[in-house]
Symmetry: C2
Subunit: 197 residues, 2 copies
């Protein structure tokens, strides 16, 4: 049996995404072995995080600052007629890094695995509908991941957004750059064939 404060922290770390009890234990022993300065830095940064980070009330992306909205939503040079829905914060970062997208975003905070009411409540569908109603969007890009959950989520979003009479699009499918035909799975190859241009 681990000492109490070790076990407690293992339990807390086990709830982090992708972390199981074994990895959580490794985290705790890593922290125990860390020098005091390093440890204090982690504590300080954690405390700072909750104090300084706010969630943008328009796109739900976390940001730092005094305003109500994040820097993307406040940026007047961005195209306010284009909205891109992403599953999670890091997907937004990935799209931003391409520098090819100049519209606005909406962070859904997850995916769903079914189309029941209980699934719907796990993601920000109502907030999204309000956002779309309030905005003047000409196109909404549903940029969920090409996974089963991502597809299910996209399906639900298309259904929910349909009554709002706004055009929805999806990200293109096909072979990834650097990929080779002989290693591509059937679905990817089928998508590449269908999406040929």
């Amino acid at each position: 049996m681990y000492p109490k404060s070790i076990q407690k922290l293992i339990d807390l770390f086990s709830k982090f995404p992708t972390v199981g009890p074994r990895t959580a234990a490794r985290f705790v022993f890593y922290l125990i072995k860390s020098p005091q300065e390093k440890f204090d830095e982690i504590l300080r940064t954690l405390t700072d995080l909750k104090k300084t980070i706010k969630i943008c009330s328009s796109c739900f992306y976390p940001f730092q600052g005094d305003s109500e909205f994040c820097s993307i939503c406040e940026d007047n040079s961005r195209n306010k007629e284009l909205l891109c829905i992403v599953e999670k914060e890091s997907d937004l970062e990935s799209i931003e890094k391409t520098k090819k997208y100049k519209g606005l975003y909406f962070v859904l905070a997850g995916t769903i695995s079914g189309l029941r009411k209980i699934d719907k409540e796990k993601i920000r569908v109502e907030e999204l509908k309000k956002r779309v109603r309030d905005g003047k969007f000409k196109e909404i890009i549903i940029a969920t991941n090409p996974t089963v959950e991502g597809e299910t989520t996209a399906l639900l979003l298309e259904r929910e957004l349909k009554p709002l009479a706004v055009r929805t699009t999806r990200l293109g499918r096909g072979l990834p750059m650097g990929g080779e035909l002989e290693y591509a799975d059937e679905d990817t190859l089928s998508n590449a064939l269908e999406g040929r241009k």
Copy 2:
């Protein structure tokens, strides 16, 4: 670009064992989304950890309490002539769970990938030698993992402990319980054949 306090925490989490920048980012967003009570609990438990946990000066296992040694080292019912060397704290826990071992332990804090002097300094070889010299051990079980690094480490330990004229043993090798012959790799099967009884 992530806000500064998010990026800072991503960098810190990225240094945790098994964690890369992507997982670190997921941790941060998980924390941002956590309710304040949950977050405060994590902060409190972290602060407690460094305050209450000490490292046993005999076996290097972390423990909670006022004494100088951990409860295993202080337990007079344990066999003080038997020492088991483990790579890391969780390996000790795993052996304790079997309830088959009643000797003492020594936590090496890692493994090495080479036999140079610089490798040796990464683990507690000198502390181990001192421990063996000070103790009255009749057998030392080198319980490193059956991996390349574990084997290299065991090799070094055998070499370093040889002049101290104490018997060293290794954990048995063979098929794991529930394993099937047809799925066992060649090395495991070879070990099982060699170790037949």
